[in-house]
Structures are given as C-alpha cells and as structure tokens.
Subunit: 145 residues, 12 copies
C-alpha cells in the first residue's frame, strides 16, 4: 500500500502555462501534476496534490497534514517571503515538510532571497524546475526510510 503525502502549491502555480518558461520551466500545471503523481507512485507514495492562491486554504491543508500526520512537499511560491501565518501552521507538523521552488530564488530579485518558511522546514530544494518536486519526493523517501 502507498503512503499518502500532501504536495501543496502556493499562489500562481496553477498558471505555469503563462509564467516565464525561462524561469519556471516548460511544463504546464497539468503536466507538473502528472510528473509528481507518477514520480510519487514509483517511490511508494500516493500524492494528494493541491494548489491554492489562498493563504487560509493552505493553512487549512497544513492543519490537515498535522492531524493526519502526513508528510508535506510544499512550494509556497510568493507566500515564501511574508506569510508568517503559513509559517506558524507549518510549525504544527510533526512530520517532515520539504520546501521546494521551481526557480533558484536566491539568484532572482532581492525580495526573493528571504524565506519565512525555511526556519520550520526540514530542508529546501530550489532551482531544478519541475524536477525540484521529484527530488523532494526522493528526499522524503530517504527521510521516511
């Protein structure tokens, strides 16, 4: 049986089709979901992939993860830089949370160099496009043994 994990995506990530492909890669969101799903399966996870532009919805999902003790792969997108509310929700987890980014945020605009989430994440993977998620899945597998 597969272990369930949550894969949470923050604001604007459902619109990869129209985001700058030189920064965010060539896949659209449907393709990204398929990549994550199949990668999860081949590593023994069942992915529950969700996306929201809404801070509160993401907070709710993190609560759900805390309640059901689900590991989380999380791309906070722009919330990375200011949502202390999401940080506090992520801090509730007793399971590992892995922060992922499609782009290498540290080589972009100054405001993207700060993450208010990293302080409560297990680890961070950034800059590998859609592959960042695959790496996070493998990382999770490594952690959960």
């Amino acid at each position: 049986m597969l272990m369930k994990i949550l894969v949470l995506n923050g604001p604007n990530l459902a619109r990869l089709d129209i985001r700058d492909s030189s920064i965010y890669g060539d896949l659209d969101y449907t393709e990204l979901r398929q990549l994550i799903e199949s990668s999860c399966k081949s590593h023994g996870f069942e992915a529950d992939i969700r996306q929201s532009d809404d801070e509160a919805t993401i907070i709710g999902w993190l609560h759900e993860a805390a309640d059901e003790k689900l590991p989380v792969i999380f791309n906070p997108a722009a919330f990375t830089h200011y949502s202390y509310a999401i940080r506090d929700a992520a801090a509730l987890l007793t399971t590992p949370l892995i922060e992922v980014h499609l782009s290498n945020t540290m080589s972009r605009e100054e405001f993207r160099h700060t993450s208010v989430i990293s302080g409560v994440a297990k680890g961070t993977i950034a800059g590998f496009g859609p592959h960042s998620y695959v790496l996070a899945i493998i990382a999770l597998k490594g952690i959960l043994g």
Copy 2:
C-alpha cells in the same frame, strides 16, 4: 562508460566525525564519501570527491571543472557566506553547479542565511544530511539526462 563529475567539499567537512551530529548527521567523512561514490555509480556517474579547507584549492578545482567541462556538486560549507573569490570561480563554469548543504542553513544562525554562491548555482539542496548529496546526484542526472 560513466560520466565524471566533481564533488567538492569545503572547510571542516572532513571532520564530520567530530561535528555536532544533531546538525550534520551521523556519518563520518569516509562513510559520506562511500555514500556519494556508490550513489554516483548507481546513477551513471564516476565521482571525483575532494575536500579542502583551502579557498585557493577549491578555486583551482572549479577551474579544472571549467576546463574539463565537468558538472559540479559543491558544499561550500562556511565559504558559502563570504568567499566572493569562489563565487567568481564558480561563475566560470558552463556546466551545472549544484550547491548542497548538510544542514538547513536558513534555520540556523543569522550569518548562515546568506549565500554568496547561490547567485551562480543552478540550484540548491539543503537540510537532508548526507542525503543532500544523493539528491544532488539525482538532480544532476535529471539535468544532464
């Protein structure tokens, strides 16, 4: 035939045996090398693993990587936070350089939140202990694949 890659480790990493295992994990440096080597092999790479406490030596290795067009997995350790000389060397590469950290630097002391290397790296993987290297190897495979 295996593709050669450089795996470069910065200052103090050869002394994992005596570093705080709650931060840096339980492997000593010899075990870390073995993990990297075997992981490389199983992903089709031949790892040339090196460690130095010396800034100039690392710069030289990056030049070598630039000349021989070798991909690089690089844990700059404390050099992460101030060695612009290494940054300039890393910028010479036309092959991908992946920055790795054993610990999640963003959740440690303030001075560890700044990386002068990230700006010229393809991507960053931090916080997964020795497994950070394995993930970087897989990331490299994804990129070169």
Copy 3:
C-alpha cells in the same frame, strides 16, 4: 441585557490543541472559547467568538464591528506582523479594539517584535496565556464603563 462584543482570533488559533503548550498554554480552543464566554457573561458581555485563518474573513468581521459599533477583542496571531489590510480595517472602528496575545511576543523571535496592528488599537495585553482574554474583557468593561 448583555452588551455584545466581538472576540476575533487569527490564524492557527483554533489549533491550540497541537501548538506548543509551553508557549500557548494548556487549554484547547474549545476550552478557550468557554473561558471567554463565561468570563464575558460574568462581566455583562455577550461574546461573539470567531476564529479564522483567512485575512479577508477577519477584515469582514471588523467591518461588521464598525457597522454595528461593537467593541472588539482581537488576537491577530501571525497577521500581527504583516497584514496592513487588517490594520486598515481595524482603523475603521469607532469602538475600542483591544489587541491580545497568548504569548509575550516581545520575548520570542525578532519578527514577532513588530505589530502593524498596535498603531490602531486602544491597548495591548500579551503574555498571560488564555487569561489575556479575560484581562481584555475586564479592560473593555473599564473603558465602556
């Protein structure tokens, strides 16, 4: 007849059961509600207690308070540190708004030392755990006479 007041709670406060009890106290959210309710009653108030992880919902409640001229006891939780939208909503009130915090925010992480809400609050009560609310109720009674 009891005077109605709004008691508004920001993100993650409904999950007191799983938050760090050394910081947030031993009551769960249901118990906190009961404490607030009974304390309100014994001071001549009818408490309308609400919690939301959603910035817009809280803004709406503050508008409601402004319209119905209801006094407000408000624990903005993590929104304390960045939600200027909530600040602008709170500024609409002509009735007193009291800012409360379970923990003593000024003795925690640096980012918790800033409140964008205090500037438009009547007063602040922080650090007394669930009792912070009781004190705010009594404060309100003192103000409203």
Copy 4:
C-alpha cells in the same frame, strides 16, 4: 462596441463610506462605481468593477485578465505594501495594468511609501481621490488608443 476592462479594488475600499474622507474623498463606494462606470462608457470602455478584501480572489481576477487579455486598473489598497502573491499574478498580464490610489501614499505613513506592485505596473496614479480612476481610464485609452 465597448472594450471590456477590469477595475479591481483591494481591501477596505468597499467601505469608503466610513473611511476618513479627508484622505479618501467624499464619495461612497456605490458612487465611486458609478463614477468609474460612466467615465468608462464615455471613453469607450465597458467597466467590470470588482472589489475584494481577499488576496486570492484578486489573484484569480488577475488570472482572468491574463486569460482574456483584459487591461486592468488596479487599486491594491493595503496589499500594495506586502502582497508578493498579487505581484506575481500581475506579472502574468500581457495587457497594461495601471496602479491607482485615492490618497497620495507617499505623503502618509512610512510603510505606505513602498509598493511591491509598481515594479510590474505600466504606471501609477495617486492622490486624486476618486478622480484617480478617471485618470487611469484616460491613461488606458491613451495606451490602447
């Protein structure tokens, strides 16, 4: 036939009736809508005027504008100062987005001097009360001309 444009208003703007008229002008929100509508009509636009206190809703509207290639007049209100999520959504547009403010934000509190939106806007109009919108409509006409 009229060209459709989106006129988006951020948090607390529906409550102009109770905001400080010395800062925000004398019109209530219904009157503001009427002003915008009639001004649009007389300049050949059909205004789709919306207001939300909710960050995610505004992000959704900006996605809609991106999809339908609608020009946008946008008063981000307090979101101006911190919502990088909205900034990222606005960056998706290929049509012009004009930032408007009722008040002259640069002559108010220090925190209102920073706009995280301006960097992705075509231009900014601030300080003319409800007339700021009329000017933005005319500006749009000039651009789309």
Copy 5:
C-alpha cells in the same frame, strides 16, 4: 491575610498631574496610588507602591523583590527604552513581573516601540491609562491564583 506585591513606577510618573492627560489619563499620582491600593485590596493583595526617577533605586527594589520573592507590577516609563541595568535586575526575579504602560507605547514615537524590559517580563499591558494597573493586578491574581 493579604499577599504583598511591589508596584514600581519609573521616572516622571509621580508628576501625572502635569503630564499630557490625553496620553496619560486624568488621574494625578495620589489618585493613581489610591486606585492601585484599593484594587489590590479587593483582589487579596497588599500593595507596596513606589515611584522613583532613579534607575539605581528601582534596581534596588527589584533586588528586594528577588530576595523576598515578591511579585512585581512595573511601569518602567522612559527606562523601558534603554535601561539594560534594570533589565538585568528584573531577570533576577523568580516571581512574575508584569510590565504596564499607561499609554499604548506602540502607537506613539518610534523610540517608544522598543522595550528592553519585555524580554524578561511575564507579560505586558499597555494603553488603558490607570486601568492598566488594575488589569495587571488581576493578571497577577490569575497567575498566582
């Protein structure tokens, strides 16, 4: 029998009669003392109320509180913003110290937004005029209760 507590007031507080009543309230210092005294009595405390403009005197009183294990209600007034000597003295207490302010310091001049005392206080109550002390007395009762 009543439990003894110390109520300590910092510089200029004895001169409430001539301080700006729109900020500090309408009571003079004698009336404030009477309010504190009677409020203490009705909550089972015997108040030892003291005021000094002198840093060293206040340090001495905090030492006394530490020695006699007395709870403390403390309005550090302007010392709030720079007296690390008082902070170190307050840190000696094993009984709770509650920081009070007549005004809401966070909505006044920038320099009043910093408290070097809060870091070693149990909690803070600010902005309720003389009633801030009454709330602190009740808070103390809750803690010791």
Copy 6:
C-alpha cells in the same frame, strides 16, 4: 479666457531626443511641448511650459507660482531624489502641484524609488510617457473644475 498654469520640467528633460526612448518615449522636447500646449488649450488652460537644469531656477518658478497662485505640473526629473530645496519651495504653494514622471520610476534603479517631492505634492502620475502630462492636465481640471 484660459486659466494659466505652470508646467515645469527638471534637468535633462530638454534632451529627450537623445534619452533612451524605451524609457522616456518617442517624442523630442519640442513635440512634448506641443502636446502639452494643445492638451492644455483643449482643457481650458494656458500652459507656461519651462524647462531648466538649474535647481535655483526651478525654485524661482515655484516662488512665482506661489505669488501668482498658479497651479503647477512638475516633472522634477533627477531632482526628485535629493532636492530638499525644491521641496521647501513646493511647500510654499497654496495651489495644487502635481508630480509627473515619464517613466515608472518605481520599476527602475533603487535610487529612483525615493521622492522627496511627493510629500508636498497633491498627487503623482508616473509611467505613461508624454501622456503623463496630459493626465496631469486633466487631473488639474478635475481639481480646479
């Protein structure tokens, strides 16, 4: 009869012909003047358009506007960022002063994000190229209208 207004242009604006047209638009200064003039006429204003690279000259013109109670449209160009002398002169006006910029200064270099003039302006219009002036003329009509 037309109402006279001053249209003041700061340093380097007479040389639009050689400034970067991707930032400042395609008109040269003569064409800009004609645009402003005709736009003024059609809105019932007589434009007195002036340009100077000299701080003192601009200060003098602002004094003239103060004496003759003339409304002012003002593009301070680079003086925007440091001329407190011009700010003090602009503060003398009892008629409205509108700050205009050809480019969207907030999306350019960091030093262009600060305006020492905005604090004493009625409003700001930036980013619409030469059309910024037309919008300011219309804004003025709205204010004086």
Copy 7:
C-alpha cells in the same frame, strides 16, 4: 527684581578642569559658574546654577522648573544621547528650555550626533565653549521679552 532661571549641567561638567581643553575650552567649572552668573545678572536674570552626574537629580530639577515655571538652560552632556527619562521630564515644562553644548557635537564622534533632548527643546546652541551659555542667556532674554 531679577527673574530666576535654572542653569542645569549634566554629567562630568564639574570636571572641566581635567577635560580636554581643545574641546571644552579653558575655563574650569568655578570660572564657568562665575561667567554664567555675571552674564545672567547683566541680562536681568538670577541664575540658579546646578550640576549633577545623576540622571534622577536632573529629572527632579526639571520637575522643580515645571512647578515653579522657571525657564531652563540645559547642558545635558552625555545624557543628550540616551536619557529618554530626562526627555520626558523636559517635556513637562511650559517655560522655554534651551539646550547648550560647549563643543560642536555634530563634528565629533558619530554617537554624539543624536540628541534625544532636542525634540522637546525650544532651541539649541552648540560649539561656542563657555560662551554657549552666555548666548543661551541672551536667547532666553529675547524669548521672555
């Protein structure tokens, strides 16, 4: 009859005899007192000249000035840079307080460039050695008519 004024001197000023005469001038404190006294007399004032190294003593003297409605000439010496307690005391005055300094503090060490007192002083005179006091006496005469 002569009008009484207070001339208050802060820490270390009684030891002018051993302070650096290139900065503080050639008079010792007794001579400075004589200069102030005679200068006061010739301008119709009776000087009550005091010096203290003690913050609380100076606060008390400012209270006395507030009670007796005495004008004050005040050299806060090193307290200039951090004593908010003295600032709050000075703010109680309804008579003018003039800040004086022997040296030109703005041309000395960085920490001497900040005055927490100036914000509540009528005016400041700095850099004229003992003559700074004479000028302050004359200034007071001008103000009090």
Copy 8:
C-alpha cells in the same frame, strides 16, 4: 570702523513672508535683514547680507569669504541636508563660520536631523526664529574678541 561679516541665507529664505510662521517666525525677509543689520551695527559689525536659492552662488560667496578672510553667519536652509559642495566650500574658510537655523530642525521631519554642514562649522544656533541671527552675531563677537 566696523568689521565686515557675511550673512548668507540659503534657498527659500527670501520668501519668509509666505512660509509657515509657526515654524519660521513672524518677520518677512526685509524685516529680517533690518534686524540683522541693526544688530550687527550695535555689535561693531558691518553686515553684508545675501540670500540665494542657488548652490553655486553660495559656494562663490564662501570663496569670497575665504579670500577676504570674512567671518560668516550661514543659514544653509534645505542645503543643510545634502549639499556636500557647500560643505567643501565652507571647509576652505580660516575664519569662523556659524550655522544658524530659524527653526529647531531636530524637532521637525527626520530628514532635517542631518546636517552635512555642521562638521565644518564653528558652532550651531537653531530654533530661536530671527533671533538666531542676533545670537550668532553675538557669538561671533565673542569669538573675534
């Protein structure tokens, strides 16, 4: 015979008639000149009083003072806060230069708290309205003996 001194006034000071009299006092510039002139005469100086809104003109006057070894009383007005060119000119003097301000700049806007001139002035007199000049004249007399 009278000793000649230069009294230099910076930008906007000729327009005292329309500046905020609560800040700058009740005299207009002609009256200010007369006050300075007569005060100079009665102290044995012949005042050469000049005003300019032009940085270069003031620099020229300072050169003249340097050449003719004239003492200078200087109100740099808004140039106080940024004109390093004037600072360098003032540094050429071998005679004393006294900085004067009508208002107490340290109690006004933040940007007025910095003086780039003070570092090369003999002393500073601020906050006494037109009387600041009289005090400077007396100060000069004291220095020149």
Copy 9:
C-alpha cells in the same frame, strides 16, 4: 607599600548569589571581593573594591580615580551597552582603565555585543568568570611595571 587601585563593579554585580551561575560563575559577591583582595595583595596592590547600581556613583568614583591618579579595573555590567556618561568619565583618566566582564559578552544576546566603554579603555578581558579580575590585576601589574 602597596599601590592603591580602584576595582569598580556596575549594576547587579553585588547579587552574584542569585545570578545565573552558568553565566556568571559560582562565587557570590563576598567571595569575589575576597578573591580580588587577596589577588591584589599578592601582586603588590591594595584593592579598593566598590560596587554600585548607580551610574552617578560610578562616575564619581571615576572622577576620584582621575584626581588621585589611581589605576582602575572596571566591570561596567549592563552600563557597558549605553552609559555614555560613564564613558566620558572614564575618558578623564590618565591612568590605565581595564574593562572586565565575567561572561563572554560577545557570545550572548545581540545587545551585549556593543561596548560604549571599550573605546576609552586600555584593554578588555571577558569570559573567565571571577578569574577575569585576577587577569586584570596581573595586566595592570604588567602595565605599571
């Protein structure tokens, strides 16, 4: 005959008995005095050991040292971080002043990293508990020969 030296201790140091022994060591103040005394004797000094929580008292002692030309060993405790008045007093000495700290202040809270005293001290010894004083005594012996 023994040479007299002053050993001055700042606020809260007399209460070593109740300060955190993991930071301040195991001796109480009486034992610290005895250690200093006997160490002085064995190095040829007669120690005049004093402690005060009062800034002015310490300033007075420094004046005494200046007058009697006594060398000083000084633990300014919390005054280290803000008392410019003490700094100015210490600057009067023509004999060496050695700054000592029980704890290694640079490895504690951020605010303890700044010393306003060091700038006028001969040298600093920090982190050796009570032994810091012994080292200072030996240092003094080295300097005084």
Copy 10:
C-alpha cells in the same frame, strides 16, 4: 589635427590654492590647467578645460559633449556623492566619460565612499593628485585608439 576633449571640473576645484595640499596636492588651479593642456597636446588632444561650482552648468557641458560627441574627463568633486541630475546627463553620452579624483576618496570620510556617477562612467582614476588627469588623458587615448 588634434581631437577635442572636454575636461570638466566640479565645485571648489578652482580654489586648489587654498584647499588642503596634503589631500589635493601642491598645484594651484592655473598650474593644473597647464598640466592638463600640455599633457593633452602631447597625446594628440586639444583640451577644453572648464570648471564650475554650478550643477546646471556642468549638466549643460555634458549635453554639449553628447551633441558634439566629445570624450569627457570629469572630476565631479562633491557632486560625486549626490547629483543624480549630473548622472542622468552623463548617461546621455555615447563617447567615453572618465571619472577622476585628485584624492583617494575611498580612504577619506564615509560620505565620500559613494559615487552616483561611477555607474555611468567608463572607468575611474582616483588618488594621484593632478596626475590623475594625466592618467585619464592616457586612458582616453587608449580607448579611442
């Protein structure tokens, strides 16, 4: 035939005779001009050497250089540190502009460490006294071939 170049000198440079020779060298301005002229001639340039204390005049000369496509050697003197207006003018050039300084500005006061001009200059030569100009002339020769 000689190629014409502009050599522009900013405020106070005509007064080298009275500036601190330990910083600015021993030549007076006439001698500096002669040095520049003869050095130009011997390198095939005809120098048009100008000096002004006036920002606008220098802006005008830079416009002239832009129009006539003249290379420029420019010592902005104190304008270096704040004149964005001159920066914008310098940015208009399509010919090389070389920034020169007599002194090594980076080893002087903090405010001299910032150049707002360097960002639009080809290169910078500082610290060689009058010889800085000679080097710039040779540099120009190198660039123009």
Copy 11:
C-alpha cells in the same frame, strides 16, 4: 611534565617588526615567541607556537587541537572579522580556546569591532600588547586548574 598548548597566530603577525608599534607594541615576532615560551614554561605549559597567513593552515591546526585535545590561545588577527571557516573549526574544540589581540580592537576602525570568533571562544583578552598572551596563558592555567 608540561602540558602542551597551541598558540596560534593569524595573518601578518610574523611581521610585527614592521607593524605600527604604537598599536602593536615594541617586540618583534621572535621576541614575542620567546616571551610566550618562557611565560608558558613558568606556568607549567609547553607552548607550540605557530603563525600562518593561511586560513586553511590555521583550520588544520585547530583540527589538530581538537584531535589531540589541546587548549588553544588564538590571535586570529584580520581573520577575526570574516573567517566563518575558522569559526566552524574553532567550534570543534572540546578544550578551551582563548581569543587574544595585541591591540584593543574595539577602539580602532569600525570593521574591527566585529569578531566572528568570539561566539565560540571561552573568553577574550585584548589591548595589552604582547602581554595579552601572558594573560591568556595565566587564564588557561586558571581554567585547567
């Protein structure tokens, strides 16, 4: 038998002969070594004194100290201010490390006020010239008992 300790000296310390003797004292490096050696002997230590300008060499020596459990006296010289690599090496020690400086770094240039080493040192001794080492030897003796 003597206990072995390492005495490590950072960059440029071997060249004391040509460093500013008013800052670094009168001994040359050979004499400094002799002083340290003899002082060690007389306190029961055998000093292994080393100097290197090379960061990696010093890191290696600290590793050696960690392996052989040798106490360390360390003058990091300029590495004090930026070498996080050395800090990480020093953090490996389980024996005490004492930081020494010849000069009182806190009274020199601003950049010398920061030590990245102190955070992992037992204590600091600065300002006593060569005698700083002697004090450190005695300090070590005190610690090691």
Copy 12:
C-alpha cells in the same frame, strides 16, 4: 637599470581566457602579462608579475614588497570585497600600492561597490580593461618620478 616592481593579481585572473570578455576584455592572461611587461619596460620598470588564487600567497608577496621596498600594482579581484588580512598586509608597505581593476566595479553588482583595500592604497584605477595596468604603471612612474 630598471627599477623592479611587483604586479600582483588576485583570484581567477589567470583564467581571463574564459571570463566574460564583455566585462574583462579580450586578452587572455598570457597576453595581459606581455602587455604589462612591455609597458613596464618602456617606462623603466622591470615587472615581476604574479598571480595567485591564494590569499596567504598574496599576503606573502606583499610582505616581500614591504621588505624589499618594492612598489606594487595590485588587482585584488574578489579579495577586494572581504580580505581584511590582505588589507593589513598592504598597510605594511612604505612604497606606493596602486589598486587596479579590469572592470568598473562600481557599475556592477552591489557587493562589488565596497573595497576593503582602497583605504590603504595610494590610488585606484578601474574600468579600462588590460589598459588599467598600463595606466597604473604610468601612475607609478609619476609618483616615483
């Protein structure tokens, strides 16, 4: 006979062949050496040209220059921005040291705007590509001339 000078090049400069030629010019390091050599010869110098990526090696060469009293032309490359150890070594020279840069560092990334070397250099030449060295050679000739 030719006077010997040292020409020192910092990290990565030997790899000019693969550095961005739009920033660093078209010459490779061998050609740069030849340019320097021949330019030295024609100005009467014998160039000892060295390059190292190693901080300690460069420090050693600066010591050598100090010992042999050799003038130095120094391109510190990335060490410019953080190597205080090299700064201290450069400060030992009694002969002139000239700082050179191929690129105009002040117009590149923010971190390149700071030089910790300039404070101890005679002068700086930046932005002229390989020709920067030629200018430095001529500068040296002028100084030693």
